[in-house]
Symmetry: C2
Subunit: 365 residues, 2 copies
């Protein structure tokens, strides 16, 4: 993606080969700052503190975290330690474990002297693969948008999205936003309703920033507003991302996604989930029952950070003093509420059969 005329990915190795650079997403949208990760511990902390976030980018960062660990000590023990440490950072996004398992498999197959180079190469490969997946998701999803546009006589196609599943959540392009970027670039008149996405406001902070930088028309709304807009006919389709997709098509995504899926279903609005294969957890047969949901700090609910009139970032209390807060970070949308899954291989129903139609090699597994 382009920021002020320059192309960026959300993660890349530094030129000196000794670190990894990421965009510090806790500083957006008010500052665009890079952060250099030099050790596995720093990579783990970047994931935990959400300097980087978004299921695909978490996977990519974990892969580079293993590479940084191999630069210091390529032993079997240290490899196991790195995988365990990085794997404990966040519980819901399955790409994390997918990337770590892949790194472990590749690195255990080579001698320790080869591991550093092999690890950086594999992490780069994971990143390139994610970009390819997201580009393909964009192509498949843009066709859905084009079909709706054809019925709208040049009036904008209104698309609602929740949280940030854009290029900042992946290595480039995004999942849910990739079809929107592609459609916009093709000249289709799109307008995006951006859910604020409390408590961390990734919609208002990151999705609005991304869409603004790319010139895509959009309007930020509070998370409460989407149902009303659907009742009023102001939403033509919803596209969201996924942190983990169960084998039955249930989708864990940012808290509140389920509410929008219910509203879409109640109003006959198509509800799509865009995801690369790496978010599918074939080991989970029932997502609503079995996907673990991260509980994050209450302070994310009770406090907010933003830019004050003096131009500096301030953190303010927004809950009555003394009141407790709870902060489940994800919910699971049952497959029955999902119109279709958009993956790098195409679009399929959110069901075991639908997923197997795209990934037939899994039927034998």
């Amino acid at each position: 993606m382009r920021i002020e005329g320059r192309h960026y990915r959300s993660i890349w190795p530094s030129e000196d080969g000794r670190g990894v650079l990421v965009i510090d997403q806790t500083k957006l949208p008010f500052a665009f700052a890079l952060k250099r990760l030099e050790t596995m511990t720093e990579a783990a902390e970047a994931i935990r503190s959400m300097v980087v976030r978004g299921a695909p980018l978490i996977g990519a960062t974990a892969a580079y975290g293993v590479a940084l660990a191999m630069r210091v000590d390529p032993s079997d023990d240290h490899l196991a330690h790195a995988i365990a440490t990085l794997g404990a950072t966040r519980p819901t996004a399955v790409n994390l474990h997918w990337a770590l398992q892949r790194m472990g498999r590749v690195l255990r197959a080579v001698s320790s002297s080869e591991r550093e180079e092999r690890a950086f190469a594999e992490a780069a490969f994971i990143c390139d693969e994610d970009v390819d997946c997201c580009r393909a998701i964009g192509e498949h999803g843009a066709r859905i948008i084009a079909q709706i546009a054809a019925r709208k006589d040049a009036r904008p196609v209104n698309i609602l999205t929740h949280c940030n599943a854009g290029w900042l959540a992946t290595v480039d392009w995004g999942t849910a936003l990739a079809p929107i970027y592609r459609a916009h670039d093709q000249g289709i008149n799109v307008h995006v309703w951006v859910d604020e996405t409390r408590p961390r406001s990734q919609g208002a902070a990151l999705t609005a920033f991304e869409l603004g930088a790319h010139g895509v028309p959009h309007t930020v709304i509070v998370d409460n507003a989407g149902g009303h807009l659907m009742q009023e006919g102001e939403v033509d389709l919803c596209i969201v991302g996924s942190d983990r997709t169960a084998a039955n098509g249930d989708v864990a995504n940012k808290i509140g996604t389920y509410l929008k899926a219910l509203a879409a279903h109640d109003n006959g609005v198509p509800f799509y989930v865009a995801l690369p294969f790496s978010t599918i957890d074939w080991s989970i047969a029932d997502g609503v029952r079995d996907i673990p949901i991260e509980e994050r700090a209450a302070r994310e609910v009770t406090h907010m950070t933003g830019r004050a009139e003096d131009g500096a970032l301030h953190t303010i209390e927004v809950v009555a003093p003394g009141s407790l807060a709870a902060n489940p970070a994800f919910d699971v949308t049952p497959a029955r509420l999902i119109t279709g899954l958009i993956t790098e291989r195409g679009v399929a129903p959110a069901s075991r059969e639908g997923l197997l139609s795209l990934y037939p090699e899994r039927a034998a597994a």
Copy 2:
């Protein structure tokens, strides 16, 4: 309600008889400040700027606004002007128009020399009637909570509420919170999930403040979280208020109510709406189609105010600079998603028949 040992209503005439005192709700929860309204224009501005809010309190404030106008000039023209000015402050809450019509009817029936005294008396009567209604709503609703408590073996009854329909939204007791206060005072183990209620955060600011002051256990959650909690069996019932109830049982309430009603329906959680008769708009046959929805300033979405570490209130920007925002303030929950309406006369299904069973005198109308 008691605040630090002293009993308060949310509005009352000043001792010198020349003004009306209200609690400045824009300062809560960080400061408990009274505001004196001395003119009709100040009363109108207090409603518009949400110094006072909540459908019943808006009605009571409008009634006192008419009384303040009569003190200055009790002519027919000025009465009509006061009713028109106050009636234009906010579009969705029907109590506003109900109270103004009532004041107009009463005052036009007496000579101008009697109007000031009569107006203050009628405004006081409207306030007392609201307190009685809310107390009765509390009794009827507490029986529903007691029935659920009987199945829970002393484990807490978990009640989700949205926005603030407590004593701050009425003259005393509240609508949705009245049954909770009553049940708590009866010794029933209740715990309240308090929806933050963006953009103005009346849940996190006002409901949490009220419940904390009364000692009711509660936990603040973002508006996105309620559906997940229902999926997990963590919500036993929902109770919300109403800004306008159509004759068919459709309910306009704070934006996002509809999403919670959908989630309750999807998970078999009872969803009740508590309201006094004054929020029923018998002239509206189809609430989803015909209740007007207020669009408020985008700045309520793009900025937030809270207490910074220095103890002072600060306003911060929370949306990407340059992005637009939309701010519909209410949505309409279709009657089919509502388990029952709790009014001062008892509990009935959300339907024309249900409402007429409580208000049979309306069947002839």
